[in-house]
Subunit: 496 residues, 2 copies
């Protein structure tokens, strides 16, 4: 829901020769971001039905001829905090009539195009595309600058085409961070030029991403205004790393967490982060740090004696590991995101640049921001897409809950819904993500006072949005499903 919106009761026909004008815009579009987005917008608007109306034969005063996009920043840099605001005007009259998007950056303009695409719809009477309820004036910007979706390519590999479709639908829902949980215990699919044997830990040679593939994903996402947040989940979720470099394991029989006693471990992580910094230009890198079971450190004699020599408990070593890697990340120019266990165990020791990523439950953000750190909210009881959670709970989960001091609000960067991949592959990912992620997306985009107090007030809109996703070829499931659900029986999409 936009910050402010007004509309009328007029109608315009979308011209068959609908065009993009950019006169007066300071954005030169050398990389084609705007032109391509415009052309995708028109394709999508026209995809639900064959357009038969010949708008050259309609009275010109009823035809919307194009959209005039005026962008004030010449840069196409996409970075955390890049302005995403836009204004969209669609007049009811004019000669000729053009809609207008004003935005500070091209990424704001892309949001404006998405909104525009949802105002257009195929009309059976005219057999063309109608722009409804003109004149429109929409002023809009997101509440949170971090609106994420996690995908996990370690438990199951996701082909490039599948990731691209996820990104497409993220753009439709105005989510802006693809948190790419690339590697984990089960597999290491990504090429790391500095340590080329790391992807020996992939499931098969067919289930790998080259650096060029990763760059393609970053570039594809950027063209849709979406950041890619890369994660290495260390030291606890990294057994697959040792297939290429067994010395990363405490021992052959005790293969995780990564060996804290071995300098090679940190040298290798430094290499990964160095390679990451060439591809993943998002200001943040995710360093994991959750679910660290230190048993192997304790029972492996070599590691145990090292701990003893350092005068560290296993718990100290966990802290040592995380903090040492934080420094490496900072040295490569990254700010850091860590899962909340790091905060829960040694919050006061974390680098002040740390963003704490909540997942265990509610109420964490409150403590994090009081401690002076920043937070991303993903509490698993509400925002884990692999759990059987109703869309209403996705909608109602408020990242700022119980944070009464308004000055601390800005420390909550936003939130993220998580699509963990244990039971998710290329076949079921879209259904598991959509439409529930869209319910959370509205929570993260919309200003607090515009949000529905009762999520059921949103049902009809969300149900329509799910059908819109289907029209666009996205396999969003029935609203009342908790993920992978077949419809209960025959009927309309709009009542499910």
């Amino acid at each position: 829901m936009p910050v402010s919106v007004s509309f009328g009761s007029g109608k315009l026909h979308l011209s068959n020769a609908f065009e993009l004008k950019t006169k007066g815009s300071k954005f030169a579009d050398a990389s084609g971001i705007l032109k391509e987005a415009f052309s995708r917008t028109i394709d999508i608007v026209r995809s639900s039905h064959v357009v038969e109306l010949d708008t050259s034969k309609v009275v010109p005063s009823l035809v919307l001829r194009g959209i005039h996009v005026v962008i004030s920043s010449p840069s196409d840099e996409l970075q955390y905090g890049t302005d995403e605001s836009y204004k969209l005007y669609i007049p009811a009259h004019g000669n000729p009539i053009y809609a207008c998007i004003e935005a500070k950056t091209v990424y704001g303009a892309l949001h404006g195009l998405q909104t525009f695409s949802q105002i257009c719809s195929y009309n059976l009477s005219t057999r063309g595309i109608l722009v409804h309820q003109v004149p429109w004036t929409i002023v809009d910007q997101p509440r949170f600058s971090y609106r994420g979706l996690l995908i996990d390519t370690a438990r199951h590999y996701q082909p490039l085409q599948v990731i691209k479709k996820i990104i497409d639908a993220m753009a439709y829902t105005k989510l802006n961070v693809l948190h790419w949980h690339i590697v984990d215990t089960q597999s290491f699919p990504l090429e790391i030029p500095s340590y080329p044997k790391l992807w020996d830990g992939s499931f098969t040679i067919f289930e790998r991403y080259t650096i060029a593939d990763a760059e393609e994903i970053v570039s594809y996402a950027k063209k849709r205004g979406i950041h890619v947040l890369a994660e290495i989940d260390i030291p606890g979720h990294a057994e697959s790393w040792g297939f290429g470099y067994p010395s990363l394991w405490p021992s052959e029989n005790c293969t995780g967490p990564l060996d804290v006693s071995n300098d090679f471990t940190f040298k290798l992580i430094d290499g990964i982060l160095s390679d990451f910094s060439k591809i993943f230009k998002f200001k943040f890198v995710h360093l994991g740090g959750d679910e660290v079971d230190t048993s192997c450190w304790i029972i492996t004699p070599r590691v145990r004696s090292w701990l003893h020599k350092q005068g560290m408990s296993d718990s100290d070593a966990y802290q040592y590991f995380v903090l040492r890697v934080q420094k490496l990340a900072l040295s490569h120019g990254y700010e850091i995101i860590n899962w909340e266990e790091t905060f829960n165990h040694f919050g006061s020791k974390l680098n002040p640049q740390t963003v704490v990523h909540n997942w265990l439950g509610g109420g964490v953000a409150e403590n994090v921001v009081k401690a002076g750190l920043r937070c991303i909210v993903s509490n698993q009881d509400k925002w884990y897409l692999d759990h059987y959670i109703r869309w209403q709970d996705f909608y109602s989960n408020e990242p700022l809950e119980n944070i009464t001091n308004h000055e601390l609000h800005s420390r909550v960067l936003g939130g993220e819904v998580c699509m963990w991949g244990e039971l998710i592959d290329a076949a079921d990912i879209e259904q598991m993500v959509w439409p529930r992620a869209a319910a959370a997306a509205e929570r993260m985009w919309t200003s607090y006072d515009k949000l529905a107090k009762d999520p059921n007030d949103v049902r009809s809109r969300l149900s329509h949005f799910r059908c819109l996703l289907n029209q666009r070829g996205i396999a969003a499931g029935p609203l009342e499903g908790l993920g992978l659900t077949r419809p209960f029986g025959p009927g309309s999409c709009y009542t499910k």
Copy 2:
């Protein structure tokens, strides 16, 4: 599996400037079918990874420069029985080296391109596309000329984009008939210009297909060598027709089957078939005829008295209805397909042009062909995709089972797997169809002696094919699933 295949142990690099040559071909490609298919083939081959190899720097004797397609028929007409054979040669040497497809029709050539696409794969060492195991000589043609997949847009509407993706994947599996079960009891989504109130029986105005939409589907399918078989399932599955024309119902309280006593019923069907004949150019139309519960004819006084006057039992009236509609279809130039109940009830009365569509169980084709009629096999215990049936059973279902007289084999046109839509919408259709439909597709394409006696011998190939579908963006599910199944746990696509 092709009719004959030989291959070597060489490798070629697919040129970045891979080109289509058609010198000597009699097919002018005015409609762009071949050019577009060629370009799709290359896009698909390159979709799994970013190609980095610069083939202009590779020794020319190791680069496959293009494919030379020679077609002997100038026509792009697609009709039942259109020759689908092709020969594919990929030499190991030459200067320059070109692959060659020879085909009688462009539709044979399309199959050749599909096969070619499966011989190519991305290679991590070269970072380019390799053509494996050259030289290849493949001679190929289908065993059955009817290899169908039914979709049902009456129980749930399927958006255009979803139907197009189903057609895409049909082309990958060399299925060639999309049986479009358009309308049924629950809804009537298709525009019928002769009777424009018929689609008042759609779920909503958003869940309709215009004539232009239907033409788009037919055209999209044709460009991929796929026929569209349109069905009206009468008189038993047609309650939705009465929302626009209530006089089609025996009464307001007893709304099916269509009123056999009313001449308007047949006039309207004639109108539908007349409209169909302008869009659906496939030689066959499907007239349904299954599951006719005649109770409403018996208990509605007006219809009962008409039956009495005609000296007909309700069962006679069922026969009368089907045969009268068969004549209408013939008058519009169609041959007829009817579900098997028509054969079971009054087989000897059916027009000799009838194709009997088996579904109730096995053993029907045998009786149909002995009776001099033709048959399509879809026995629900093996080839119904909405039932929980293993892929092995899809693979093993033999359309010619127990037909010992070889002269009768040609009366079995082929088979069809059926994706009934009660519990299927845009979200789950792909997973329910693939990869199980691909197992049946091999049964229908491959000559009998090349088929695996034990379907488990096919497992590895089918598992790879499922992963290939995923790479191409098709949501094919795990092999061992019976439709909508999540993977059992983390792991490789290739072992599921």
